[in-house]
């Protein structure tokens, strides 16, 4: 009999070890991430796809904004130039711009050389006799102006002023001011630099390397510059920088939280058990659960998000409860050694099983969420808890040494029972608290929820402030509004962009838009270029010009170079993308016109007036877009899109949470078979939930989707306590009470620690579930019937 038991024990242990080995193997091949992917939808709408592209791969996602501050303006500029010089030779960066005239000459030569293909002013009317006369007259009048000195040398080649028109069109955007030959903030406190990385914004490793290169270049520049630069500091921001920073924060937090919560729980367990064997056995379900959880997420999602691991520390708190129940109960039943495990199985397993099932129903609502971060949490928790419960149920009783004893906790249990018996005295005061909480919630109903996706952003307030400051300095507000045109070919997309641009131009003139960008400005479609070439006169050009100068103080003979340029422009092949190489226009085109899979996309970012777009403006833009007749053109408001994405998640999570709640109620009804008892079990939980919400509202928190999940977890975890207090039959024993209190302490320390995290997502769950778990226990004890707690 004894040998048989030993054999089973070793067989079970070997099986467990094999399982651990398989898990370890899967985990070594798992990809861990900590980027924004947790927040992005897996099946996006076309508008959301634009948002996704911008966040993960678009040129905007590859920009790093740099500020150099802390010394004097001349030093800042000198450092900026040194850094830029080094970074321009670095393959990690596509472009580095700090206002130095690096490409200016090449850009100007390109624009001038191709002015008749690029300028929207080139039309048949402009090259008629009357059109030429008017254009020449304008140019001569311009000679009288202060700018005249600059255009005078161009007059023989460009008497119609095409280059002036082109410059005016392209320099419409705000540029930072120059200070000592480099970009600087308006107040002169910082030098500014803008770099585009080769790595995509979603490539966090690549972004991290680029940031390191940037820092090295800065350090080297400071060293070269000497003492004056010693106080200079480097500030960086951008989507990629945010990814790197949040990954570092999440990694640091997850490591810290795991270590601290493990230490707390180990200390607690040692305090109760006074036995390392019991500690090791007690941690067995937790470790198994965590491993299986990671493996499940890895297999189910292809990668594991750092936040999921952070959340996993809370699993330690819940899974360790099961073994606590087992050990404390086994001590109680230890008088009859052989029967200890069996008694536990018959007496307590059903209650624990119900607790596990309620948790699973709660987490299942996360699993269905289209918010990938939540779905991962759900899968991780379900797999982890089921494993922990199964290990506790089937492996642990086998593993208990035959003379396994933990410290006698009945003395503590009796003291707890005395306290617990008095708990119902608190019934009415606590009921008042719950009622007051309801009042608070009603009062705060309008400001209770946070409706912005950014509320989940793992980026700290300080980093967001740096971002806002540098953006304001750069005169580069967030790209918020844009029109995106997609199609199967570059030429088709460019043509669509041109017809959209034709509709947008009147809006700029009316002041609805302050401006807009289009790739067709730098690379017109072949069709448009051919149309412009067709506008240029052929043989009779000289004749038309001779007529056009009539009445003007100028002789046609001056314009021989003009005739030659027009003839050359008419005969040449249209511009292709490759013709823009080595100019900064190439970057402009590539950032606005790009291929995704088989489709080409053109982006037309719109600049709004400082106050943003009013509803009428949005309406005018949509009308213009409809008039352009381009079915593949979409107007996208990135901020509205991201907030809508989030409110979609929130709405869905609300429904699923309610579904989870219903599931828990059904489960309780099935097992307790008494609506009264179910109501009795749920009442303290409801009271705990409203109290927590009221506390959060009063402390100025606005609830996010994660708080909602936290509330669901209070119900799922708290139902265990409520079940013990409302349990049928025997009154709750001092031993059970002890295990409940310890289980509660471990849960509270697991979740409570998250409350101190600087990652908002983890903090939200922590500040909700931590206090909620304590309140659930207190409410459950107070609302319990007096006779349900056994005395000595």
């Amino acid at each position: 009999m004894m040998r048989h038991l030993l054999q089973r024990r070793w067989a079970a242990f070997a099986l467990w070890l094999a399982g651990v080995a398989v898990c370890a193997l899967v985990i070594t091949r798992t990809t861990f991430t900590a980027d924004l992917s947790a927040f992005l939808p897996q099946t996006p709408t076309p508008e959301q796809q634009v948002l996704l592209d911008q966040l993960t791969d678009g040129v905007v996602s590859r920009l790093i904004l740099v500020g150099i501050e802390g010394a004097d303006a001349a030093t800042h500029a000198a450092l900026s130039k040194r850094m830029a010089q080094q970074l321009r030779g670095d393959p990690a960066f596509v472009t580095v711009n700090n206002g130095e005239p690096v490409n200016t000459e090449r850009d100007q030569a390109f624009l001038f050389g191709n002015r008749y293909l690029l300028s929207p002013a080139v039309t048949p009317e402009r090259f008629s006799v009357a059109g030429l006369h008017a254009a020449l007259n304008d140019t001569i009048e311009m000679l009288a102006s202060p700018a005249g000195m600059m255009i005078k040398p161009l007059l023989p080649r460009d008497p119609t002023g095409e280059i002036v028109a082109l410059f005016e069109q392209m320099n419409a955007g705000n540029r930072p001011r120059m200070n000592h030959g480099a970009w600087a903030s308006r107040d002169g406190a910082r030098a500014l630099l803008l770099a585009q990385t080769r790595a995509a914004g979603a490539d966090t490793d690549g972004q991290q390397q680029a940031m390191a290169q940037m820092q090295r270049a800065f350090d080297a520049a400071v060293k070269q510059h000497g003492a004056a630069a010693a106080s200079a500091k480097l500030a960086m921001t951008g989507p990629g920088v945010f990814s790197v920073q949040s990954r570092q924060t999440i990694e640091r937090e997850v490591t810290r939280l795991s270590i601290i919560s493990t230490l707390i729980i180990v200390s607690l367990l040692l305090l109760v058990y006074r036995s390392f064997t019991a500690l090791a056995l007690g941690l067995l379900p937790v470790v198994s659960g965590a491993l299986v959880g990671v493996v499940a997420v890895s297999l189910g999602f292809g990668l594991v998000h750092g936040l999921t691991l952070g959340f996993g520390t809370t699993l330690i708190g819940e899974a360790v409860d099961y073994s606590i129940y087992l050990f404390v109960q086994s001590r109680q039943a230890n008088a009859d050694k052989a029967g200890a495990a069996r008694d536990w199985v018959t007496e307590f397993w059903p209650t624990i099983r119900l607790g596990v099932l309620t948790s699973i129903v709660g987490f299942a609502s996360l699993l269905l969420s289209s918010f990938p971060g939540l779905a991962q949490l759900g899968l991780y928790s379900i797999a982890g808890l089921v494993t922990a419960a199964l290990v506790t149920r089937f492996l642990l009783p086998l593993m208990l040494p035959k003379d396994f004893r933990i410290r006698d906790v009945s003395a503590l249990g009796n003291r707890l029972a005395q306290v617990a018996r008095r708990a119902p005295l608190l019934r009415w005061p606590l009921a008042c608290v719950a009622l007051a909480a309801c009042v608070v919630i009603v009062q705060h109903r309008d400001t209770l929820w946070n409706a912005e996706l950014s509320s989940l952003s793992p980026v700290s307030q300080a980093d967001q402030a740096v971002d806002a400051r540098l953006r304001a300095d750069m005169g580069a507000p967030d790209v918020r509004y844009m029109i995106v045109v997609s199609g199967t070919a570059r030429e088709a997309v460019l043509q669509s962009a041109e017809s959209v641009a034709r509709q947008l131009q009147p809006l700029v003139e009316q002041g609805v838009l302050t401006g807009f960008e289009s790739p067709s400005r730098y690379l017109p479609s072949i069709a448009t270029q051919r149309a412009r070439q067709a506008s240029l006169p052929a043989d009779d050009m000289a004749q038309r010009l001779a007529q056009a100068v009539d009445g003007l103080p100028v002789r046609a003979a001056v314009f021989q170079p003009f005739l030659a340029d027009v003839a050359a422009a008419k005969a040449r092949a249209p511009l292709q993308r490759a013709d823009l190489d080595h100019t900064s226009l190439a970057l402009a085109v590539d950032s606005l016109l790009f291929q995704r899979g088989a489709r080409w996309n053109a982006m037309l970012p719109l600049s709004a007036p400082a106050s943003g777009f009013a509803i009428e403006a949005v309406h005018a833009i949509r009308t213009a877009l409809a008039a352009a007749g381009q079915p593949n053109a979409l107007f996208v408001d990135l901020k509205a899109e991201s907030d809508q994405l989030y409110s979609g998640y929130l709405q869905q999570a609300t429904w699923y949470s309610l579904g989870g709640l219903c599931g828990i109620v059904v489960l309780l009804l099935l097992s307790l078979r008494s609506p009264t008892q179910v109501a009795r079990a749920l009442l303290p939980l409801a009271a705990a939930v409203v109290t927590v919400v009221a506390i959060l509202a009063l402390s100025g928190h606005r609830l996010t989707i994660l708080h909602l999940i936290g509330l669901l977890l209070i119900v799922a975890v708290g139902s265990n306590y409520a079940l013990f207090f409302t349990g049928k039959g025997d009154a709750i024993s001092p031993q059970t009470l002890t295990s409940l209190v310890f289980a509660n302490l471990t849960t509270v320390s697991g979740f409570g620690l998250l409350g101190f995290s600087s990652v908002p997502v983890l903090q939200a769950i922590g500040t909700t579930v931590g206090p909620g778990a304590v309140l659930a226990l207190v409410f459950a004890a107070s609302f319990a019937r007096r006779q349900s707690i056994a005395g000595k």
Partner: protein, 200 residues
């Protein structure tokens, strides 16, 4: 009797005459029109309003192009040129910022980015402000004529400026600037005549 030598007589005569000569000469020396005096009197003007007519003589054109409008100056560094003809246009220089408004187009640049422009504008602004130091940073100065009709010649010493501008010639009467002529290195020139508007 002692004979009086002619030399002595001459010396005595001189001794008698000298104070007279000095007395006559003194006002002439005190009123001597030099650069510092010009600058001092110019610096007294804190605010000014004037109309202008500018003619540009360009080799490319058969006739000069003419523009006219109004000039506004507020010491020490605000200068506004409002052109009315042939096309409304406004140019404002304030501190280091140059803004040009023409039709719907509005441009604003930092002058330190355009040293040749900065030197040219400083020649006018420095003269109006009577800031000799500022002028001498970019130009070699020479004053000719009298207080009632003076001519200040500015030759660029800054190499960038000198590639475009040969000479800036400013004429005036006491603290009034009457004309500014800019002669470019290619022979083209512009002449701006200025008529002071009585201050309100």
């Amino acid at each position: 009797m002692n004979a009086v030598s002619p030399g002595t007589i001459f010396r005595r005569l001189l001794a008698l005459l000298l104070p007279l000569v000095l007395a006559c000469a003194a006002p002439a020396i005190a009123a001597d029109w030099d650069l510092d005096r010009l600058m001092q009197s110019l610096a007294k003007t804190k605010e000014g309003r004037a109309t202008f007519v500018e003619k540009k003589y360009l080799a490319l054109l058969d006739r000069p192009v003419e523009s006219s409008g109004e000039l506004l100056y507020v010491a020490p560094d605000r200068l506004e040129k409002r052109t009315v003809k042939p096309k409304p246009e406004s140019m404002l220089v304030e501190g280091d910022t140059l803004s040009i408004e023409r039709g719907r187009q509005k441009h604003s640049v930092q002058m330190q980015e355009y040293p040749e422009l900065a030197g040219f504008i400083d020649s006018i602004r420095g003269t109006l402000a009577g800031d000799r130091k500022a002028l001498e940073r970019s130009f070699r100065l020479k004053l000719e004529g009298q207080a009632e009709r003076w001519t200040l010649n500015l030759w660029p010493t800054n190499a960038k400026l000198a590639t475009n501008i040969h000479l800036v010639q400013i004429t005036g009467s006491r603290d009034n600037v009457r004309s500014i002529e800019i002669i470019q290195t290619d022979g083209d020139r512009s002449v701006m005549t200025i008529e002071k508007v009585a201050s309100r």
